[in-house]
């Protein structure tokens, strides 16, 4: 089937209406995008001699980031990149997606009233502003006055210095907790779109919950699973909130790529190197976005056919 184009407006009028938006996007998105690429080829800083007279250094910033001698050192680009990958795998793919899927499936079987209460609680975790959540978790986990340690001490258990001893697991659990709500909602609506008669038929045949999930639920929401995985991966890859919990530390142990980029560019004011990190982050995001778009296109084609 061929799509038929029809138009409400002439091409010219359409372009005129688009122009203001295009100008804004151009000034605030495209221009900085190319500016960052340009800066990444210089040694521009905010302080010191290279602030006024930046020099063109070619790919030196990129070579420095990928220098094998320091690549894996903590506090360097490679360490952050690997850390971020682990963070995405554990907190986005395993944590958010799996927990969201589990919650959504369990919600199919509970009474509607209880379902609504659970939904409210989970969504509350999702709609609160990042900074509020960050401080709430900090207050929860603090060694001296944190709620969790007060409970532990009250029970006669030893208190844990979580933010210093297990900083990576703290941010993994934090991000899982934070993002599971989105996955849950997405899977919830996906399950709701499956005709109930499928499950009723399975019930008559005496299928267990796991069999229903494996043979009916999961295959029918496969498309949603891919969407969810890509979206939560992208969000987790770019997330900055763990900074509020750990400041990227102690000793860079939780310095995700976004936090590393912030430190280089805006705490050390090394704009050239910071821009190079930014360009690499953009490229990685571009790959995610292309996968997402190509998948969306495939789905749209499937619907048309």
């Amino acid at each position: 089937m061929k799509k038929k184009n029809f138009s409400l407006l002439s091409h010219r009028a359409g372009a005129a209406f688009l122009a203001p938006a295009a100008a804004l996007v151009g000034v605030f998105v495209l221009l900085p995008f190319f500016w960052v690429i340009v800066v990444s080829f210089t040694n521009r800083t905010l302080l010191g001699k290279t602030a006024l007279n930046p020099e063109f250094v070619g790919l030196a910033n990129y070579f420095q980031l990928f220098d094998p001698a320091t690549f894996f050192t903590r506090g360097q680009f490679g360490f952050s990149l690997i850390l971020t990958t682990q963070f995405v795998l554990l907190s986005a793919l395993v944590g958010q997606a799996l927990l969201g899927l589990l919650l959504a499936w369990l919600m199919q079987t509970i009474p509607p009233a209880l379902k609504r209460i659970v939904e409210t609680a989970v969504i509350a975790a999702w709609i609160l502003p990042e900074v509020v959540i960050g401080f709430a978790w900090f207050a929860f986990l603090d060694y001296d006055n944190g709620t969790l340690n007060m409970i532990l001490r009250g029970l006669g258990l030893p208190a844990g210095d979580f933010l210093l001893q297990q900083p990576f697991w703290v941010i993994v659990i934090f991000n899982t907790w934070r993002g599971a709500a989105f996955s849950m909602m997405l899977f919830n609506s996906a399950f709701a779109s499956i005709p109930p008669s499928y499950f009723q038929a399975a019930d008559v045949a005496g299928a267990s919950s796991w069999q229903k999930f494996r043979d009916i639920g999961l295959p029918l929401i496969r498309g949603h699973v891919v969407t969810d995985l890509i979206l939560s991966t992208m969000w987790t890859f770019n997330v900055f909130t763990p900074f509020i919990l750990t400041n990227g530390g102690p000793s860079y142990r939780t310095e995700l790529l976004s936090i590393y980029n912030y430190r280089i560019a805006f705490r050390e004011f090394d704009f050239g190197k910071g821009a190079a990190v930014g360009v690499i982050i953009m490229l990685i995001n571009l790959v995610f976005a292309l996968i997402y778009l190509s998948f969306g296109r495939k789905k749209a084609k499937a619907v048309e056919e």
């Binding site: 905010l46 530390g249 000793s251 705490r267 050390e268």
Partner: protein
Amino acid sequence: MSNRLRALYLGLATATTMITPAFAVDLTVICRCVVGGVNSETATWIKESVIPGFTAAMKAEGKDVTVSLNEFGGKDEQMTQQLALDFSTGAGADVAAFDGFLIPSFVEGGLLKPLDEVAGPAVDSWEGWKHISDGAKSLMSYGGKAYGLALGTDVRAIFVRKELLKSAGLDPDSFQPKSWAELLDAARAIKKANPDSFPLQLNAGVNMGEATTMQGYYMAILGTGESVVDENGKYIVSSQGILDTLNLYKTIYVDEQLGDQRAQLLGDGRNRTFTNFRDGKTALLVEGDWFFNSVMAPGAEFGLDNRDAEVTWASMPAQEPGKGYRGQDYVTVSGGTGFVLNPATKNPAEAWALLSYMNSQQSLTAFQGYREARRIRDDVATPNNVYLQKTQESLLPLTTARPNDPNYNKVSAEIQRMTESVVSGEASPADAMAAYKAAVIAIVGEANTVSKL
């Protein structure tokens, strides 16, 4: 709208725009000072003394000036961040509190201009210059030009909680360690008598920022006879002195737990060290004048109501007698903080008038009533403060300063990193020094460094 009405509006608008600049000038001062919080006395001084006095003085000249104080409550590093970004975009307060060691890097980055370039000849004819020594002027100068005025200068020493010393059988009044070994022995004795205490605090780690370099690393490395740079201004990146300093840190925080390791690693670590000292968990804390006269002042957040009875001080000893910087037995280092003019100020004349008013004899004398300190003017007396007077004789002649170099603050950040990797137990002193060497060479180039090993 009728033409007549329109004319009236236009006329009114023109009249207002013409009148406003002549009569009302708004100035903003920013400092890391909050009434009831950090540097509370500075904030109170500006609000109670400077602003009313200055607006009255301006009124007498027929100028209507309003001054507001922007109380910045964040950390030193965040304040630097704020000022760098403000100045680079032509925004920010007209008069800003500033740490002198940052001046070279800001100047080279085009973010600060000499006072006379900002405010013109009024600067050169100021009466205050003849009361400020060249040394005091240099605290806020670079390349022979003054970029701001320091409020005063300081020295560093070991502050001592008397009752903790007594608990370990030491006499606080005669307490003066003559070497690192004696200092550590005192800390060990206190730890033995009070197992829960963290007797010794020598700043380390990234989170304390420049306080790590000045109060911690400098006070130790000077004791080895070295400094951050050698006599030719080249950065020392590999030496026995650095290793000894890092081993001292390791002894304090890793091997013997004489200091509070967590306080070196956490975001609010420096305040934790103040709390430890106030609550009697730390007996020996290496800090500057500011700690004694502001942080610990009776009534302040970390204040001790009985400060003068409960606290004494000792000089920081060299590693061994005579082994310190320039062959000294004791070491200390000085810095200076003050105020600069924003080069993009819309009212440079009034901004300079305010800055010079703050540094007038009358105004700095009034400041002594809020916080006692060594002021830079020779016509403002050092107050009747035993600590200031004694250290004036014992420590001021021994002091030195940080390199006046645009790369210094980057190197300083590497020093903080080096200490953190040692006190967290993640790197051996040798590995930490190797990482420091690589980082400093990347910043200043190998030609500007020197390896002594």
